[in-house]
């Protein structure tokens, strides 16, 4: 196997896939490394199974639960339908000074196979917030810097949705939105009637609708089984989209079972020269060299690699002059909101196969508005209305003919809203490496020490109250609020730990995602985030990756490395 490449990409998830595609399409011979197993597009073993075809009707067995104890904290990823996309916690241990739910999958495509597919742009409300409030450090970019890259990404991945003309949730390049059902349409109307600054729109999802052709993919057929992998490629994943595009160039070499233990640094040239890899199956160590390295191993994976990459120049980890590497760990906080029911709309058509939810964009603390709260930043809501099924009777003691006949019919409508809130970047929310507890490959394990703090907890009170208020105003009955204990990691939007910034003394990456002192290493996954916004972050990772590759290719072609 060739050991020298123009570029190396570490990781094949949503960011790594984009780095691979862009580098290869620009003509760079690129080695793409994935620590987990090979999954080709279409290798989705549960994709076409109906619920009765699973041994336990989708529920995880006690045996599988024992292997995925941490993954099962989500309550859904370890079901029979998707458990194979998530790690075995016994084989991949980590440590928690404070609880952190590190939910992940090691295989080609990573979590791009299982992501929530919500594709939301961040705005200058987000990029300017740290500076305006004097929190952490300023983002070194503004919306205008990333805007064309959002458009490029949206055109390629295919996003359906509705443009609203809101400055804080910028419009995008969308195919037709998926339909709201009648209850949701009514809720949308009620919100527009009661609030001049709140909107309900269909969520912006990376599922194909409309007439645009995407190579090797076809439109969504509303199976609502996206997380299992889609044989039609109807939603965007590395497997269905970016990796096949990279493959078509003939410039990609992809190597699964390749755990990067270290990025190699040359103190004389002051550049990274390559990576050390451990073959996950054989334990063999290998070295690959390249002119440019994109580290896209996911937030925690990437920062682990950097922390492990020690040299005389960087005794505390590659690029860690600031001491910020591993700090400012963030995640969105959610699982707070409300639900309600309605006795109306009994006879309208209903199907539960839509793989999308509605979205209520942020309405708190917008620029120019009066201070509305005792917390900074804001949150948005995601939700849906559906008719209840047989499970509505689980917590009853009913039985017999009438009970059975009733449950064979769709139940009353219920609607639910869940908030997604911004988490501030706190220096003391961090991950470190424990060299006393090593994994089976002899690599140090990660220790998490992070928690949501007062700002998030205050925000959650408002999220619950506002969800209840909106549902009541809209005429829903039996409205119940909920606020389930929130832990970092649970939203599977972990980010930060190698933040972008202007100053090498206080940040790890510059405005093009290069490590300040090692400019041929780019970090474009969630690790680079300077603040979290409230938007689902994957679209931003993809846009930053495409932008960073564009920068890297120019440097490469000018022979700067």
């Amino acid at each position: 196997m060739n050991k020298e490449y123009d570029a190396i990409v570490i990781g094949t998830g949503i960011s790594g896939g984009w780095a691979a595609k862009e580098l290869c399409e620009h003509g760079l011979k690129t080695l793409v490394l994935e620590r987990g197993r090979l999954v080709s597009h279409g290798d989705y073993p549960t994709a076409t199974k109906d619920i009765w075809e699973f041994d336990y009707r989708g529920k995880p067995s006690a045996e599988s639960n024992s292997k995925q104890k941490t993954q099962s904290r989500t309550g859904f990823v370890t079901q029979e339908t998707t458990a194979h996309w998530f790690v075995n916690d016994i084989e991949h241990p980590y440590n928690e000074t404070k609880r952190f739910d590190w939910i992940r999958g090691y295989h080609i495509g990573g979590r791009s196979l299982t992501w929530g597919r919500q594709a939301l742009r961040m705005s200058d409300l987000d990029f300017e917030a740290n500076k305006l409030e004097g929190i952490a450090v300023d983002w070194p970019i503004r919306y205008k810097d990333i805007e064309p890259w959002y458009t490029k990404v949206e055109k390629f991945i295919g996003v359906c949705g509705e443009n609203l003309g809101l400055p804080h949730l910028p419009d995008g390049h969308f195919s037709p939105a998926m339909p709201l059902n009648e209850v949701e349409k009514d809720f949308r109307y009620q919100i527009s009637k009661h609030y001049k600054d709140r909107y309900l729109t269909m969520g912006r999802f990376a599922n194909l609708t409309g007439n645009t052709h995407h190579i090797g993919r076809s439109n969504c057929v509303y199976r609502n089984r996206c997380m299992r992998g889609c044989p039609l490629g109807a939603y965007f994943s590395s497997n269905s989209s970016t990796l096949p595009a990279a493959e078509r160039t003939g410039n990609m070499t992809i190597r699964p079972y390749s755990i990067v233990s270290e990025i190699l640094y040359d103190d004389i040239g002051k550049r990274a020269t390559g990576v050390n890899v451990i073959d996950a199956e054989t334990g063999e160590t290998l070295e690959f060299s390249a002119k440019v390295i994109f580290c896209c191993a996911s937030t925690v994976g990437t920062t682990s690699i950097l922390l492990q990459s020690k040299s005389d120049r960087f005794p505390n980890g590659l690029g860690n002059d600031s001491g910020e590497l591993g700090h400012n760990l963030m995640d969105h906080h959610f699982r707070v909101g409300a639900s309600g029911s309605t006795a109306k709309f009994k006879n309208v058509p209903y199907s539960n196969n839509r793989p999308a939810s509605f979205h209520i964009p942020r309405f708190r603390n917008l620029n120019g508005s009066e201070p509305q709260s005792n917390f900074l930043r804001g949150y948005s809501f995601q939700g849906s209305a559906s008719r209840t099924d047989w499970r509505r009777a689980i917590k009853e003691l009913s039985y017999g003919k009438d009970f059975k006949d009733d449950l064979l019919k769709p139940g009353p409508w219920r609607i639910g809203l869940t908030g997604f809130g911004e988490c501030l970047p706190y220096h003391d929310n961090k991950m470190t490496l424990d060299y006393d507890k090593k994994d089976q490959w002899g690599l140090p394990t990660v220790t998490f020490n992070a928690e949501f703090k007062e700002n998030e907890l205050e925000m959650r009170k408002d999220m619950k109250e506002e969800a209840i208020r909106m549902l009541r105003l809209a005429g829903f009955e039996d409205v119940k609020g909920f606020d389930t204990a929130a832990y970092l990691g649970h939203a599977i939007h972990e980010m930060g730990t190698a933040r972008m910034g202007h100053d090498p003394k206080t940040s790890v990456l510059n405005k093009f995602n290069q490590i300040h002192a090692v400019p041929n290493v780019y970090i474009t996954d969630g690790a680079c985030m300077t603040s979290s916004g409230n938007q689902n972050p994957s679209l931003t990772y993809m846009a930053l990756t495409a932008r960073a590759v564009n920068h890297a290719v120019k440097q490469f072609k000018e022979n700067l490395w």
Binding site: H41, G42, D50, A62, E396, G400, D405, L407
Partner: protein, 188 residues
């Protein structure tokens, strides 16, 4: 029927577009049409207990103009779920629950569960399920709280309801997520 058609349509689209799908995927597409008819013996409950579970689900989800739980061998499904899905603690509680159930059955009907007829099971279910809304809520609250803090004299009640509600819930799961029920093919 709608679900079946959609599934078939998906397969046709995959195949007709000539998408690059691996051998194993194509195999799994076709496997999706097969039905497993293997005979299964109880793994968790004793054979005699299985008669009791059949008796219970026959009252909970009876055969009417539509099929009932026993038409779908739901008792075996319940057994499989108890064996492979429940935790060790849940399994222990179910075992204690079925013991208590047998005792109560004898007390109320003067018969062993294995000798009980439909009326006997009807009587058992009525005894424990025909309760006030307040009592129903209290039962589920007790189950949610778990057995750790319970007073000894309440524990038999806890185990009994653990067993009865597990049979009811797993029976519902097995019935309402079965192919025939989900495809609406349930007329007797």
């Amino acid at each position: 029927m709608v679900i079946m058609d959609r599934r078939t349509a998906v397969k046709n689209i995959v195949l007709s577009l000539g998408l690059v799908v691996s051998g194993s995927t194509i195999l799994s597409l076709f496997n999706a049409c097969t039905t497993d008819k293997t005979v299964v013996l109880p793994e968790f409950f004793k054979k005699s207990d299985m008669l009791g579970i059949e008796g219970l689900v026959d009252i909970i989800l009876p055969k009417t103009s539509s099929i009932g739980a026993n038409d779908l061998n739901i008792s075996l499904f319940i057994d499989k779920m108890c064996c492979h899905v429940l935790s060790k603690k849940q399994q222990d509680e179910i075992r204690m629950g079925i013991e208590k159930f047998s005792k109560q059955f004898e007390k109320i009907t003067n018969k062993l569960p294995s000798n009980g007829n439909r009326e006997d099971y009807q009587q058992m279910i009525a005894t424990y399920f025909d309760v006030s809304e307040k009592r129903e809520k209290a039962v589920f609250q007790m189950l949610e709280n778990g057995s750790d803090e319970l007073a000894e004299n309440v524990k038999p009640d806890y185990y009994l309801y653990t067993f009865l509600t597990a049979v009811r819930e797993l029976g519902m799961l097995g019935y309402f997520t079965s192919q025939v029920v989900m495809e609406g093919d349930i007329e007797v």
